[in-house]
Symmetry: C2
Subunit: 311 residues, 2 copies
């Protein structure tokens, strides 16, 4: 195979209570990569679309470029050259793991073209290196679910220990991306560095409750556990209308609602697609009432991770 | 029914990573209560055995007495008098939920004699009031599992939200109680009041991992998740030989090992009874090498909570 098109899904990281340890993938939006072998070494970024010219074409500054570079170094094949095209089908800086999806699509595509020397799970460290370029540290809560699909728990970063947790079939995500922008580095900067023991205990209870709710499964328990007493109070102030949008989601039947990643997108989880559609509309209407436009997405939890598209 | 004998099981609270939110019950040791109706109002503590004369016979200072008193007030039956005998079949101040087991046995017995007006789960707040007398605050991580059996997650204290998590059948606990004593109030006093965000994230990862490990089930994951970076580092210094005993447990095949409640008992979890027996012996041998005697208990996770014994 000389050329491949790969789609990697957007992701919701943190999932209310699980800062840096929880994430799940959705079926849409996502990112598309076209990767083609070249006869000379080196990676060339041929084209980036859908980014309004905002993403760097220098390989060492591009999340997909870096991920492929690190991957080739690891398998000892830096002699293999690639031409990369990146099609952003999702908003940048939205808190939906845009950089992670590109890195995942890139490294997955490269592994396919190289004859799959590594397993899908083993691609994670290279996609994480892409994340390091985008947000300053190698987080796995977006690349993990984008690469593997499903709901992901990162039990440990050192050593990396990623667990896939089955989700109930009727669990749907509503995502609303308001047309404002929050920089991930800023969003991390405003967080408290020290947390009281009492607050930690509250958060741990919800972390345990959410995992139990997914596995039992128990939708009501999932809902009661979608509570974040550590991160959301700090980050919510960066999102105009946060409290109203969240209240609208709950009033429309959502199990829970919080910030996706570092925002400004909000996600809600619901039982059933019909409720999830209603929830997304109600959230968008609340933003609209404040004069803020938005994109909405409704999806089951994605179970596949990246997929190869027909050429 | 005029008289009843009830046995309530000992419990392991915290379970490494789950300070104040995790606990499980074991089949032995435990506490026994004999409760008999009287024709006049008021609770009288007739006899306490197995405590070396250390427990108070004044009802309002006794965990079982308080629990029954609060229960009777709640159901509006303070006119009903009881005579209570308490047989401690487990060490006091051991970190095995001795006060919780007494409170649970007492309130469960009272509810049976009153014709079961409340469900078993609804007895929890009264048993918790017993705990308040013993350790200064109304914790549920011992009374929860002692009352309900199994592995318990306390998702929230306000409102109280208790979840029973199924455990794999081959999971065994080894408990070793060294003959030293740690006061629960002291053990809480030495804890850090503020925790770094990074440490909180590490702990949350293990909390999520342990719940996932129990439910998937995945014994190796349970083992990797039995890590406590918040409480154990502070409390381990109160237990002579802690590091050596823990290392001996792991070397003998335990999945993990940590402090039971506020100590000084240590628990380990293992796959299979044979391993759990070996682990208990190795832990006891390590204490013995330091000149510290110990009691050992090996048990599956108790699934029943309190049971009525034949008279």
């Amino acid at each position: 195979m000389e050329k491949i098109r790969v789609y990697a899904p957007a992701t919701v990281a943190n999932v209310a209570c699980g800062f840096d340890i929880f994430g799940f993938a959705v079926n849409n939006p996502g990112d598309e990569v076209v990767l083609e072998k070249k006869s000379t070494p080196g990676i060339v970024i041929k084209e980036i679309t859908g980014d309004d010219g905002r993403l760097p074409k220098a390989v060492e500054k591009n999340t997909a470029g870096i991920a492929i570079q690190k991957y080739l170094a690891h398998i000892g094949r830096e002699d293999q050259g690639f031409e990369l095209s990146l099609h952003k089908d999702m908003p940048l800086g939205s808190g939906l793991g845009s950089s992670a999806a590109s890195a995942v699509a890139g490294v997955f595509a490269a592994n396919e073209l190289m004859g799959r020397p590594l397993s899908q799970k083993d691609l994670l460290p290279f996609a994480m290196e892409g994340e390091r370029v985008a947000c300053g540290s190698a987080h796995a809560d977006n690349v993990g679910p984008s690469l593997l699909g499903g709901f992901i728990v990162i039990r440990s970063y050192d050593p990396l220990d990623i667990i896939q947790v089955p989700v109930p079939a009727d669990l749907y995500a509503s995502i609303v991306h308001p047309q404002i922008e929050v920089n991930t580095k800023d969003a991390r900067g405003i967080l408290d560095k020290e947390i009281s023991l009492a607050t930690t205990i509250t958060q741990m209870g919800n972390v345990a409750g959410l995992v139990a709710g997914l596995l039992l499964p128990d939708y009501e328990l999932i809902g009661r556990s979608l509570v974040d007493v550590i991160i959301e109070p700090s980050r919510a102030i960066l999102i105009p209308g946060f409290a109203e949008v969240k209240a609208a989601a709950i009033a429309s039947g959502a199990l829970g609602c919080s910030i996706s990643g570092s925002g400004p997108s909000l996600f809600a989880l619901s039982k059933g697609e019909e409720t999830a559609q209603k929830v997304a509309k109600a959230m968008a209407a609340e933003f609209a009432a404040l004069g803020i436009g938005s994109e909405q997405y409704v999806s089951q939890i994605n179970q596949k991770g990246p997929v190869v598209l027909a050429d």
